[in-house]
């Protein structure tokens, strides 16, 4: 029986009677999902609702010479055919820049292309009809005349003089550039016993949410109000953007998220087709629905990674790492994505390389260039998988070069557990990390020595197994330093409102959102604990800008650490209010009372004094019996934003054990381990499942997932049969371990855990493959994903 039940809480400072902090309580909203009774945006239907389908450019770069839609307009069920120029009268264009990414530039992007399409898949015309099928029939009849333009597809030549400039107004194809030079890098390399250099390649891949992007927009001309049912991670951000580009007040826009079928960072951006859907609803004065089909998803959902990183490490014979140097290049499509920009991933790579190590010499260059492919932007673990693979790939190459064990070189270089607070060479500030304790935990959890012995024994039988590691740091709980300071209206603070209902139960409204990670469970745990009721008495409401406190939503591993703290504090505040009511009823002192398991008790001895349902009855229906001048306040709101640290960094280490079939090039994953430190663990089961899910997305990047393009900018595998994602049969069991270093920035001390798995998995799978093949003299594999053909090439077999 592998199902572990709820466990009693570990005693911490957060311990209160009937505390749920640290317990694996099941999520409150699961039954509706297992019974098929959830409501995803793709399930939403409204009266008079129309459906939109888009005619999309088959060219990577083309001038739109004409659009003829006479036949479409006569087609059964068609309500409207709308071009980019027509829609531009309803909605203004946007430019994806942030002022703190100095020099970052982009061009205005419209909901539907005007005059020119800049990637294969960009919408050039909308057809609105009674059904999606009729809208697609209509699209078939739209006659678009294109003049193909040269496509810029290779980032390596994007800045060459002879390469056409995609947006002439920008002057060149450079979106963003960052340089960093810390310490004495040249001197360090010159004085090192050994220097290892290689080039890492990271294939473009994408989130492949099982529910494609979905939106239903409902402009009510009578109310002058736009209601948008939107599968998004950030409803308040989208409220702001819909209002801004439709020239409405934010009050006129309501965004509801409902159930969201996977997001992983894919659903936190502005998509032209979704903006067009909202604009079409305004134009047509009726609800309009858009659900991307899978083919559309592959060519329009943001892609990520696509980096070439030349990298170098210096090392001494005693294992001391002397310097890191990287030169990163990435092509991000024709536009920087709004409003988070497409400069963040490369910027994160610069920030994060070398991050776990005490190495003072670091030089980095990153260039972000435009190209005529689908746009790239932030996907789960933004920049981390690249930075971790570069760093950890270099560290294991250095270890091999000097003949040192890969764990030993880490022991000699990881920042010491008693060195905090401190900063990385790139300037990241660390409050408290636990690299060494995590490594020691991993070492024993996986029985490293035993695995090495097994590996050696099997090699004699020509069975090639590898062990690879990846230490990592992860950005979580972002303050305004991430986006707010750059001018984007993306809230870093979040709020929770907690109220006592008339039967003594609790309702929580929170600004963070649920995409399946378990945010609603965590919020319920926080409030149940700090207020003092059993968790079944707590109902959580998220994803509705009309009814939840203003907040940032769910991204950058912030929901538990920030939303959870706001909920914890709101629960505490309401407890204070309720105890004031109880004290006036009981003629007691509030400080001598507490709420335990839904009953007001004497704090000292737990004697039951007043059940909450009775308190609520009096406060709501017989307030006349309360003392004159006393007003019960049975609703409390608290907000929280991290202030002491720009980010709450977490850390951890992963290991992969795998076997390479040297005849076929196939990799069989045998086992995966992850030890991580996300501070206070509110719900151990949810943390472990975030880790496991994240690891598997990282494994996808290492072995399978790749958006393949030809040199004309055509995506070659934009369907689920050709674009491979991890399936159950190929995935290993994943063991999780924890070290707990709470952040002192909040009372809860919780940091984020949503991206750690994805951050480290590609690196340790890469290192394990190279470890397996090293005795065969194989060329080091650094070009993700590591498909069988690449492995056979590295072995010299093809």
């Amino acid at each position: 029986m592998k199902i572990t039940g709820d466990s009693p809480p570990v005693l911490t400072a957060l311990d209160r009677p009937n505390s749920y902090i640290g317990r694996s309580v099941p999520r409150p909203n699961l039954q509706r999902l297992t019974q098929g009774r959830g409501q995803y945006i793709s399930d939403v239907t409204l009266p008079r609702m129309a459906h939109v389908a888009f005619v999309r450019s088959p060219h990577a770069h083309a001038r739109i010479k004409s659009i003829t839609a006479a036949a479409t307009k006569k087609s059964l069920g068609v309500i409207a055919v709308v071009t980019g120029a027509e829609l531009a009268k309803v909605m203004t264009p946007w430019v994806g820049v942030l002022t703190h990414l100095k020099g970052l530039k982009s061009a205005p992007q419209y909901p539907i292309a005007i005059e020119r399409a800049c990637w294969q898949g960009e919408a050039v015309c909308a057809v609105v009809a009674r059904t999606r099928a009729e809208a697609e029939d209509g699209c078939e009849l739209v006659d678009v005349k294109y003049e193909a333009l040269p496509a810029v597809t290779d980032p390596e030549t994007a800045l060459d003089k002879k390469t056409p400039v995609i947006h002439s107004s920008l002057g060149d194809n450079l979106c963003f550039e960052r340089k960093l030079d810390v310490g004495a890098v040249d001197k360090a390399f010159a004085e090192s016993d050994a220097v290892v250099e290689t080039t890492f390649m990271f294939g473009r891949h994408t989130g492949v949410c099982t529910e494609p992007r979905s939106v239903v927009a409902d402009w009510n001309e009578g109310e002058q109000r736009m209601t948008v049912y939107h599968g998004t991670q950030a409803p308040h951000m989208m409220q702001n953007l819909f209002a801004k580009h439709l020239d409405l007040a934010e009050q006129q826009v309501r965004v509801l998220t409902k159930d969201v079928g996977g997001s992983f960072g894919i659903k936190v951006h502005t998509y032209a087709d979704e903006m067009a859907t909202v604009a079409l609803s305004k134009l047509l004065k009726r609800p309009v629905k858009f659900v991307a089909d899978r083919i559309e998803s592959f060519v329009t959902d943001i892609h990520a990674r696509d980096h070439r990183v030349k990298a170098k490490i210096g090392v001494n014979k005693d294992g001391t790492i002397t310097a890191f140097e990287i030169d990163a290049l990435t092509g991000i499509g024709p536009y920087s994505v709004y409003p988070r920009t497409s400069g963040i991933e490369a910027n994160q790579v610069v920030n994060l390389v070398g991050g776990p190590y005490a190495c003072a010499n670091y030089r980095a260059q990153a260039r972000v260039v435009f190209q005529n492919k689908n746009v790239m932007c932030q996907y789960r673990a933004v920049g981390h998988p690249i930075a971790v693979a570069v760093t950890e790939g270099l560290v294991e190459l250095a270890a091999a070069k000097i003949g040192m064990d890969p764990l030993e070189i880490r022991r000699r270089n990881l920042i010491a557990d008693d060195a905090y607070p401190c900063a990385s060479a790139s300037g990241l500030k660390f409050e408290k990390l636990s690299h060494h304790e995590s490594l020691a935990h991993l070492d024993s959890m996986m029985n490293y020595a035993g695995l090495r012995a097994e590996q050696k024994k099997l090699r004699a039988q020509k069975i090639y197994r590898g062990i690879g590691f990846a230490s990592f740091i992860e950005v979580t709980n972002p303050s305004a330093a991430f986006y707010g300071v750059g001018g984007a209206k993306i809230s870093s603070q979040d709020g929770a409102t907690v109220k006592l209902d008339a039967q003594g139960a609790i309702v929580v409204h929170s600004g963070v959102t649920e995409q399946g990670q378990g945010a609603e469970a965590v919020l319920a745990q926080c409030v149940a604990s700090s207020f003092g009721v059993s968790i079944d008495k707590v109902r959580v409401v998220t994803g509705d800008t009309d009814n939840t406190p203003y907040g940032g939503g769910t991204w950058a591993s912030r929901a538990a650490g920030i939303g959870g703290e706001a909920a914890w504090q709101a629960g505490k505040a309401l407890r204070g209010n309720v105890l004031a009511v109880a004290a006036s009823i009981l003629q007691a002192k509030p400080e001598e009372l507490d709420i335990r398991n839904g009953i007001v008790v004497d704090k000292a001895n737990g004697t039951e004094r007043l059940p909450l349902d009775e308190l609520a009855r009096i406060a709501y229906f017989r307030p006349d019996t309360l003392p004159p001048g006393f007003q019960a306040e049975l609703m409390a709101t608290r907000h929280y934003v991290p202030r002491a640290w720009p980010f709450a960094f977490t850390n951890g280490i992963q290991a992969s054990y795998l076997e390479v079939d040297t005849d076929t090039g196939f990799v069989k994953l045998l086992k995966h381990w992850c030890v991580e430190d996300c501070g206070t663990i509110i719900n151990p089961q949810l943390v472990d499942e975030q880790i496991r899910g994240g690891v598997v997305q990282g494994i996808g990047a290492a072995l399978f997932e790749h958006c393949l393009y030809d040199d004309r900018g055509q995506m070659l595998n934009g369907n689920m049969a050709d674009y491979l994602v991890p399936m159950a049969a190929e995935m290993p069991d994943i063991d999780c371990g924890h070290v707990v270093s709470p952040t002192a920035d909040s009372e809860l001390g919780a940091k984020g855990a949503g991206e750690a798995g994805t951050a480290g998995a590609p690196a340790c799978v890469m290192n394990a493959i190279n470890d397996a093949l090293r005795p065969l003299g194989a060329k080091g594999l650094t070009d993700m994903p590591f498909t069988p053909d690449k492995i056979l090439r590295a072995l010299g077999k093809v």
Partner: protein, 166 residues
Amino acid sequence: MSELPLNLALDIALTVNGEQVRERVEARKTLVDFLRDDLGLTGSHVGCEHGVCGACTVRVDGEIVRGCLMLAVQCDGAMVETIEGLSDSGEIADLQLAFEQRNALQCGYCTPGMIAAAQDLLKRGGVPSRDEIRERLSGNYCRCTGYHAIIDAVESVAQARAGGKQ
């Protein structure tokens, strides 16, 4: 052969979750679109529309099928069971409970299809190995969980059902 109109419609009669249904549907309409759009059974999900992801898995005449690879008109006379029907009958109650307790779902979009596929495996009897469970669920994509928890949940139900029979 002359080209048929895109919206050619046909009458079909079938049983869906035990209820008699008679509808006129376009010949081109897939079973999953029919279930969702015409009958309001939105528990069956559309993930890829080309038979790969398994989110639309439903049971037709006792066998699991991809709702996106079967046309509604092919189900004339058939007995169709969706997650709504399987839930209400209690047939999969233990699987649902195990998925909930083990957090074997996150966003839940793949879950109805995943549970239908798991039930198809388990109703054959015996206690499949973890590898066998992984193999048999490989036609159902989950992007959230990494599968480990799903395998745990299905394995625990297989063991419990086998134990119950002894």
